[in-house]
Structure formats: C-alpha cells, structure tokens
Symmetry: C3
Subunit: 203 residues, 3 copies
C-alpha cells in the first residue's frame, strides 16, 4: 500500500514534469526529438541527481521502462496540444508546481530510507524537486533560470521542513505527505502569482 | 578482435571530440589551459555521464592514462593549427559529427552489455554522443546550444534505432555498427548544411 | 594529525567557498533561500563531482552534518554583512582564491588515496577546486563564466603540478601542500589583478 502510494506519486510527478518540459520546449520551437529530450531531462533530472548522490545506481529510469514510456506518452499528448500552448500558461504552471511538490517528498522519503540525516533529506528532496527544472532551463538557455530556481528551492525547503515538523505532532505519514505536497504546490503558485512574473519566465 | 574494434572506435571518437572542443575553445580565445579543459570536457563528458548513470565507476578516463594522453595530444596538434581556425569550420563540423556517431554506438553497446533495455540503450547512446558537446557549449556559453543539441539528439536517436532495426535483418554487428555511425555522421552534416546555420553555431 | 590537517583544510575551504557563493548570490539579489542554495552548490559542488567520478558515494556532504552546518553558518554571517557587499569585492576574491587552493589539494590527495594516476589526480584536484565556482556561475547565469573558470583551471593545474614537482625534492608533504595552496591562491589573485578584470567578473 505504502509502495502503491509512492509509485502513484512518482507516476504523477513524472507525467507532470514531462508535460511541463514539453510545453517549455515547444515554446522554444524545438523539433519533436528536441521536445522529447527536454521532457525527459525535466522529468528524470532531479531523481537522477538524487540517485547519483546516494550511489543508488543504475539510476531509477534505467531499471524499468515504465518511466521512459510515461514520459514518451506525456510528450506525445503535449505535442498534440501544440497549437494551444499560448492558452496553456496556467496548466503549465500547475503541472510544474505539482511535480515540484510530488518529487520533493518522494526524494525526501527515499533519502530517509538510506539513513540520511533529516536535514539532508530535505536538501535531497529539494534537489529531486528542483533540478529537473533547473536542467530544463539550462538546456533551453532561459535567462532568468535562477529566479525560478530560487522559488523552487524556497518552496521545496519549506515543504520539506513542514513534512518533518508535522511528525512532531500525531500526524499519519500519508497526511504529512499530502500536506507537504499541497503546501509546496500552493506556495509556488502564490509566489509566481504575487510576483506577476510568469510571462518573463517563459519568454 | 571485437575489443580491438571497440577500442579503435573509442580512440577515434576521443580524438575527434578533443579536436572539436579545442577548435571551439580557441574560437573563444581561451588560453592553452582553458582550451585543454574544454577539449577534455567535450571528449569525455558524454561517456562520463553514461558511466555515472550506470554506476560504472571510477569513470573510464580515471582507469587508464590512454584517453587523457590522446586528448592532450589532439589538443596540442589543434593548438599548432590555431591560426587556421578560420579555414577550419568544415573540419570542425566533420570531426564533431564523426565523434557523435562513434560515441553514440559505443555508449549504446556498453549499456546493452549492462543488460539495459534496448530503448534505454538508445537513450544512453544519445547521452554518450551528445553530452560532451552540450557541456562544451554550456561552459563556452554558446547561446544557441539547444539547437545544436537538438540536432545531436535527433541524429543519435535515429542512428540508435537504425542500429537495432538492422538486427531484425541478417546483418552482422560490425556492419550494423558501421551503418549506424555513418548514418549519424551524414544526418548531422545534412541537417547543418540544410539549415545553413553553421556560422550561427560557431560565432 | 594528518587527518586533523585534512579536516582543517576541508573546513576552511568549505567556509571560504560558502562565503564566496553567498556574496555572489546576494549581488544577484536572491532571497535568503536562493543565497543558501548557491552557497551550498559553490561549497560542495567540486567535491561532489569528484566523489561521483570516483564512485565514492554517498557523497561526502551526505555522510555528516558538519559540512552543511558550516555552510549554513557561513551563509548567515555573509547575509548579516549583506549591506557591505559593495565594499567586499576584495574579500570575496580572497575567499574564492583560498577555497580554490585548498580544495584543489584536498581533491588531489583523495584521488591519490584511490590509487589514481598522478596526472589524473591533478585533473581531479582541478575539478574539486573549480567546479563549485563553475556551477555557481552557471546557476547565477554569469556571462563570462568561462574566463573565470579558465583562470581557475590554470591556477589549479599549475598548483597540482607544483605539488607533485616538490615530491622530487626532499620536501615534507605538509610543506608541499602549503606551497601548492599558496601558489594557487597567489596565482589566481595576480591573474585577476593583472587583467584588471575583477569588475567584469562580478557585475
């Protein structure tokens, strides 16, 4: 059951980030292969860096074809919606924020299963959640990468601290997880909305 | 014999990418050490990322001094031809495309020896072939890195699929390898030529 | 005793690079979390890449909380001095150069304990010393990253060669280490001073 929840979270995050990467790549008018590469990097980048830091190799997406197939499917669907990217700024942000929250907690929990110190689990959760997007922006050569990255980092770190903070209270793990994912999701949305800086992010 | 062919391919690709990296670095007027670093990153970058993803460590270029010495030699020869870089746009492109084809197949075959799924072997071959150039451009701060990267990716993926496609027919491994390397080499040349975008690539 | 010297060097380098990263991030007006992330990347980036290449995982900063706490402390102190960054260009350069020298030799000596060839130990020392700064600049999107990086590389490589060169003479390890660190520190300072290019570096 625990495992089912984890795989559900991982699947959702993988799809969310693959869509987010596809849209970002299509905005840069990459050809289909370029879009697929960026979707892949965005989706598995953070978890790959986490696995490398832990010495957990071959990295997760080499151990099964599920993840690559999910990314391929999500990318094809995104390409089918290609013409509508102009109207898809909000969905892109939503998927991006959802993937951030999901992957942060997946990474945090994997690290804690490796016996890493909680404070460092928060750091690894942040890496898992943020670095797919960081690699996406680096490869797409988006100038203000650091600003989005900084928002990512702040949301992930706070969400990770919230996750551990809730353990000080009688909160069941699934609820702590849900609360942390929801917090990161909403925090990221509010920061972007408040700064009114989404356009600068993707042009 | 198999091993000899593999090491010959690996040596050729190492030299090809070292020369490609040296020329790109000299165009940016780096000092000799800077040129050597870029040549090194370009040459071993893709294979290093492949080894890290597979958990195949210490990475290949730490296990022997052959690769570093080949890169050093290729870099010195490139520096000796420094004054002629203006006239060396075509050779640079040729070496770059040759290295792309050679490394893609080397990476694909190493991954398959690790029991990785064929579709993922194509992905790892692409990583092996592309990411040396991606790292070179990232460090040299070439603005349109993603466009060249996208061409790289497309050529590598198609070449990798061709390699496996040929196994559906009675084609001996060496010939499948040769066909895939040749395809990637020519595909990359044609795309660049067709887009008439080489100048934008290196200025 | 040997260990004490090594940990002292590692601690000094960690603090030096964390301060250097914090100042660079504050110049880009990142929020506190963004500053912490950049300080962390700058401080552990080089050693992390070294550990990954050697297969020395989980990487060093996941094995203890000392390093992360040192970075957190150094970052908070740097933030407390936030208003004075205008007057802190020289300290920033000094810390940066000190960290470069310290980490280069730490990385070189760890690699040699792994039985890596001396020439490659110099390369790994260079990676350890340089790549924290390279990652910092990449994430901060500093345009002339490659120029600073090139100076880093030149200073580290020469310092590493000096370290091994001194072993040809009856020089005790601690003194060879001290000489190499000092050489890298001064070489980097002189190159920046001579090129009068510090302002371009940090604006």
């Amino acid at each position: 059951m625990e495992e089912n929840i984890n795989s559900f979270i991982e699947v959702s995050g993988t799809i969310a980030f693959a869509i987010s990467g596809s849209f970002a790549a299509m905005r840069k008018r990459l050809d289909p292969f370029g879009v697929l590469i960026i979707a892949f990097v965005t989706s598995v980048g953070g978890g790959t860096i986490r696995d490398l830091l832990l010495g957990h190799t071959p990295v997760m997406w080499l151990r099964t074809t599920t993840t690559p197939l999910l990314i391929l499917g999500a990318t094809l669907v995104s390409m089918a919606l290609r013409r509508h990217t102009k109207h898809l700024e909000r969905p892109l942000l939503l998927f991006d924020s959802l993937g951030l929250g999901l992957f942060t907690i997946v990474g945090l929990e994997l690290a804690s299963r490796f016996g890493i110190h909680p404070g460092l689990c928060v750091a690894l959760g942040t890496v898992t959640g943020c670095f797919g997007g960081v690699l996406r922006d680096t490869f797409l050569n988006d100038i203000p990468v650091v600003f989005r990255q900084e928002i990512y980092a702040s949301a992930s770190i706070l969400g990770g601290l919230l996750y551990y903070g809730l353990h000080a209270f009688p909160v069941a793990a699934p609820w702590a997880r849900l609360a942390a994912v929801g917090f990161i999701f909403l925090f990221r949305l509010l920061v972007v909305r408040y700064k009114l800086s989404l356009p600068r992010f993707y042009e």
